[in-house]
Amino acid sequence: MMKKEFDLKLLENADRDTLEALSGKYTAVGSKEAEKIYRRIMKNTGDFDEEVQVQGVELYRGSIWKKALAAAVTLVIIAGAAGGAYHFAGLNKNRPDGISDNEAAANGSIYEKLRKNREYYNLDLALWDITKGESYSELDIDTEKFFDFMDSRGTAEELAPQDFSAGSRSVRLFFNDMYAEAGGVTYSFELFDNGTFTWKENDGGKERMTYHRFTDGSSSYEELMKIYLENLIIAEIENVTQEEQELLLRSELELLLRNGFDTRSANIAYFRPAGKDQSIGYTVSDTEGFRKALFGLEWERADSYSSENSYLLGSIGLNNEGGMQIIYKGKERNYKLKNNDQLDVFRTVIAKHLILNKFGTDASKEDILDAFNRDFGGKKAEFRTDSGQFTKGSAYIITNYSGLKNELADLEWVTCKTDEQLIYRDFYTAGAIISRNGYLKPQSGGVHRCAYKLKNESDTEKLREICDRYMVADMMSELTDKLRDSADSYENLKGTFSLSYQPGSTDFYINGTVECDNKNHELYLYGTGYELGCLDPRHDLTVETAVMGEKGVFSEGGFGFEYDSSDPYRYMLQYDRLYDGIIALSERYSREYGECRVSKEEQENGYTKYTLTCGNSYTGFTVIFDEKGRLISYELPNGYHFTLETYEFDSPYFVSSDIPAKYEDIKSRANEMQGVR
């Protein structure tokens, strides 16, 4: 047998306990050798058959570590994605020490134990990849950087083994108690590219493992990669084999490409034609795909890089001859394709991922129709004057969506940039963004690299006419919005009002005062007048109502009651609580008279009058707001008419009378009077 300078001869000719220990933990025979032995046995027993399938023989004991790894690899293969995550759930079953994770947790944090003895440990690093295994390792790296990294991360979530999901790459750190100053306990830390990590403690062969996750996902992994790899790269490590150099180059490229593509500027590329000052703009269609495609090519270091006929994406330069330059920390790093055979592939990758920003090309009718989102209902649109965060939109009704789309698509359009300012001025959101300035921006899902603008500016009027024809302001929405906002459009009010009710049988006329303290949600109205019945003589009236938040009380002559101020049928005397009532009324009218619509009329004094019409001609109600959206008057179809005759909003001298006391007073009278009338 092969002899070596170091030889574990002591283990030879061992006792049964040693043999049990050896066979229990270590694989003595590989699968190929096992197949060979099995065939030999079959020959010995006379059962030999060339077709016998021995590959299915599963060895009972192998390296525990290997089995876990093999299981993980198998799962990834089943999942069909080397880059996907997989579960390490089976790992705990194979724990050699047999201790449960509950016990492990009870023994305290592995990290905290290590941290206490940090000065005794030296640190080795390895990079692991699901497809290649460990691709690079480095000894005696800076330990303190790791503790700074961990401390800056804060508390991480601890996971149950079955909830643990490893990534496809990892940074492995091995903490060695080289001089047994910390009792020979060793630790290993493995951080995966999805932000999950494990801690493993080995205390004289007794192992425990805990599972965790950083809440910021992959950024922890990248941060740790940066912390250690940039030092390694800059150090230009010597004394490594050719193979290790190549592995190092892969890690370096991975880091630098990740870093290069992880910037906003990597979405845009510029091509610099030789001998010309002007750059041509390109859009990167899929930065992640582009990064992976570049990483998938074989590179080697180069002494120089030519920027003639090259593309520049942020800190990455690519030239047509298969050269790549990445600027990292102010230093230029040059690479070239290892084999010229890959030049065509390289150029194809560039052609696939860099899209020429050719604006101004004609768009077809189909292009315009495709710009509209297929899932859009086509009933309602919103109009906005700008895209500001606090700008409110107005509701519009689309009368015929397919007509709107077709007529717009019949206009002549050309492609334009999506960030043209005029797209976001006076625009409708109606399955696509339609700007009255002659622009259309697709909303059909995915990333749109261009918008459209009218080829001829003279068509802008046509577009506006189409918009006006197919989209009409939804005044009902506008009115209800205004009613909703009305109560909040001032802080206080004192004024006089007139209220009349002329149903034609028993009419009444009341004049009085109104007082509203919006800050405290208090309202008080007091009015006097008279009632005229067709048979009754004139009958004097005193009407009084007070509202405190959600509760109201009302009294009139010999009758009174308490009510819920949100009750839509009690709004008449609440002055500014019309919103629910209007909605309720319009719903009732549309059931009785047919579909209701609201028209708007701007008055000379700047006030706005809204009129609800239902069915053919039934006038539901009218509401008038002043120029600041404050309710001035309303009239219902049953002859009920409320008007603020004089008013002062937001007076700095406003002092409310004691509305709570008045509320209590009315309430006590109302209770006495209940049912008297």
Binding site: M1, K9, L19, V29, G30, W65, T186
Partner: protein, 187 residues
């Protein structure tokens, strides 16, 4: 696998039963045989001996009537005896004989017992120190310095490149030497 389970399987499908038994005990048998023949046999000798062990087991065990008999114990005993026979044939010298060597009829002396107990303890401590290297280093050390496997063979088992196996093994060996020296263990 228990004797009764093996018997049950054997009734249904002999090939499947033998394959299951082989799968379950190959590593154990191979460990025993290799351990015995390591100093003088070739890998081919080891394979042949392991094959013979299983041939004997398959030939004799199915007829054993005792359903409670210890299958693992039986497998281990066959492997020890067979490997001792191979050892005597191949190495042609008596040398030291394991206490567990079922092929010897000699009664060990008190001195032998004491020395064997001491050696056993040293082995236990050695394995414990190797274990403490953690994976994959402990596997690399055992495969390289005990089973004599090449970096390429080991690389398949531990999913590292051969170069990485070399790097790790030299580091692990450095650590192990230090630990052995500190614990006063010579190998």
């Amino acid at each position: 696998m228990k004797h009764s389970e093996y018997q049950e399987l054997l009734k249904k499908d002999k090939d499947k039963a033998q394959k299951a038994l082989f799968g379950e005990y190959l590593n154990y048998v191979y460990t025993i045989v290799f351990n015995r023949l390591r100093s003088c046999g070739s890998r081919e000798d080891t394979d042949e001996c392991v094959s013979d062990v299983f041939t004997d087991i398959f030939a004799s065990y199915e007829y054993r009537p005792d359903p409670d008999s210890d299958l693992k114990g039986f497998v281990g005993t066959v492997a020890l005896r067979k490997s001792a026979a191979y050892y005597h044939r191949l190495c042609k010298k008596a040398g030291t004989v394991s206490l567990d060597d079922g092929n010897t009829g000699e009664v060990p002396s008190g001195e032998d017992i004491s020395e064997a107990a001491e050696t056993k303890e040293r082995r236990r401590r050695l394995l414990s120190l190797i274990d403490s290297l953690g994976e994959p280093d402990s596997t690399i050390i055992i495969q390289k310095y005990y089973y004599g496997r090449s970096s390429r063979e080991i690389s398949e088992e531990v999913s590292l490149s051969p170069a990485m196996v070399r790097v790790r093994s030299s580091r692990a060996l450095k650590k192990l030497r230090k630990m052995l020296s500190d614990n006063d263990i010579s190998v």
